[in-house]
Symmetry: C2
Subunit: 368 residues, 2 copies
């Protein structure tokens, strides 16, 4: 799934080029490239599908030339993750009893081999018909995430522990988060799901038929093999826009995983692999520092340069083609682009979305 | 005197447009304009002369249209303040026994009427043949300034106390600065001097004849009335470049005032008028906050805009024609220009000159 606005990564993230396609990693690599390259030791490129807004399909094909062009599934508009997952489930031409992994294109993983080991365990458990989610071992009482609560004894799959999921808890208070962590049964919901495609299709039909059935009917009317491939003209496949216009926008977590967990259909594979959702500039800084071991993250694009005199714990992205000098800063994020500049204290980096709101209020569509 | 590099105000201050000419004040006013306008209630525009690099003469004439064009004295190159003061002393066409004020075009004064009252007292004392300096009542044990040490009883001139100067002390340690301030006789040397022109000419001839006499000889060979007026072609008056090429570069404080103080020729008028030398971005911020009473100083140039979400004690200058967003910053300076950006902690703002040194080392003359 390569969608979403990523407004907290403004001013680099814009409508034309949202978060998965931004050159946020060393050497100017984007998050989508990194996501694909960490999967290919396990899943061949011809078996990787990207669901994205149809207008970004040419960008995906350019960035990931190893992907067959028809594996880029184009949505006519964003309708949250339930619709995106349902579209993929109905559109791809693979045997229904094969295991399918659903994940985001814009997350960061420090231990990539660890992720693949967790996916292998999840795939083994999924073969018996469970919906499996990967759970991130919490590193602190975060209040912004969903928590997955395990119950009962561990089973072993591909050499790792897996658990039945009792329930989900969304965005707890800090006190509640501390309790959940102390209890030892909680992990963060990373939004990485593993299931047989027939398990998924059955779950979609049972819990969100209003989304799944119109997409299924549309897919049945299309010629194969991959039915939702985006056109070369930046448009979704014919007829899909009319279907999407009627769909409810809801998240697959709420709409499918939560009710399925109450029916004992969901399992979790805990993992500690240096996961980050890169949900803000400071999260991006922390993830990149964990990889590099350096105090600062400083990245200059074409025509730009950075001079740093004595700064610490800074993230500096010079993408405006100009010189950026930082002097004596502590815990500050600087993101320079051609037409807009952000300077933000790391601890306030969630408030970047308020800048975007202000720009929208002021009609500055040119900067969004 | 409108000279000097002002490298600590990079990236706004450049070789083409140094500190006195920068739009650093409310409404885009520059420091030279502010300096002239605080003098005109006391000194008419026709009696104000500006000594500057000849290439900046057109800029001075454009910024201060009230000044007679021939009152802009053009130096062929910078040779520090002794040469600049000697040039003015020999070149201007005023009776030799009239009182002359020498001051910088790039300082800030909160209480302008207080400055004029101090100048009036200094002028009265200067009529008897003293060289008079204005002393700034210290607000803390600053180590970057020169200190003027008074001795003996106060005299009264124009209703204010004036003192004989015992000596100068340059850039003391912090401990020594505390002692000087505790003693009650010290003030900061602001570099504002008042003297009769004949007193000055005599002192120059006595203490720095190697600088004064070549300029005197050159001036005697020139047609009047103002002999060093910069040409309309950005060049100094004919023949002056050859004279300047031979001159020693030294400061008038060291070369004239210090030795004259040892001969009991120097007096001081203490003043507390909200003086700042605007020697760094944080000094500029503090001076402008003292005037406005606001926590932040935020100034956007043509085509630019500033969005601030919850910042405190910041100085933001948006002169790059772009949007600048600042989020949750504390005590940070942001100066955006078309080709270079500075982000600096306020307390490290003296280190901006190290950025300029680095650029010089790297051959980035385009940014200097």
């Amino acid at each position: 799934m390569a969608g979403g606005g990523g407004t907290r990564l403004w001013p680099l993230s814009r409508g034309r080029r949202p978060k998965p396609f931004l050159p946020l990693l060393d050497g100017g690599r984007c998050l989508l490239e990194a996501t694909v390259s960490r999967l290919v030791p396990m899943i061949s490129g011809s078996d990787i599908f990207v669901v994205t807004h149809a207008r970004h399909a040419p960008l995906v094909r350019e960035l990931i030339p190893a992907l067959p062009p028809s594996n880029v599934l184009g949505e006519p508009e964003g309708r949250n993750t339930a619709a995106a997952v349902a579209l993929a489930a109905h559109a791809i031409d693979r045997p229904a009893d094969e295991v399918m992994v659903v994940l985001w294109a814009d997350q960061s993983i420090g231990d990539e081999a660890g992720l693949r080991a967790a996916l292998a365990a999840a795939a083994e458990r999924a073969r018996s018909g469970d919906m499996v989610t990967l759970g991130v071992t919490p590193t602190g009482p975060e209040t912004g995430y969903g928590y997955v609560i395990a119950r009962g004894d561990a089973e072993t799959h591909a050499g790792r522990e897996t658990f039945r999921v009792a329930r989900f808890e969304e965005k707890p208070t800090q006190e509640r988060a501390r309790e959940l962590i102390a209890d030892g049964t909680a992990s963060w919901n990373a939004g990485i799901f593993v299931w047989r495609r027939d398990t998924l299709l059955e779950g979609l039909d049972r819990h969100i038929p209003d989304i799944s059935r119109p997409i299924a009917a549309w897919a049945a009317s299309q010629p194969g093999p991959v039915r939702a491939a985006a056109g070369a003209d930046d448009r979704a496949a014919p007829g899909l826009a009319a279907v999407y216009a009627t769909l409810r926008a809801t998240a697959i977590d709420y709409a499918l995983l939560e009710p399925a967990s109450l029916e004992d259909r969901v399992a979790v594979v805990p993992m500690a692999v240096g996961w980050s959702d890169l949900g803000s500039w400071s999260a991006l800084r922390d993830a990149r520092r964990a990889t590099s071991g350096a105090s600062n993250v400083e990245q200059a694009g074409a025509g730009a340069a950075i001079i740093d005199i004595g700064s610490q714990d800074v993230y500096v992205q010079a993408s405006g083609g100009r010189l950026v000098a930082v002097v004596g800063l502590r815990d500050v994020v600087v993101v320079d682009t051609e037409d807009a500049l952000l300077v933000c204290s790391a601890e306030a980096s969630q408030d970047v979305k308020r800048v975007v709101e202000r720009l929208r209020d002021e009609g500055r569509e040119d900067l969004l």
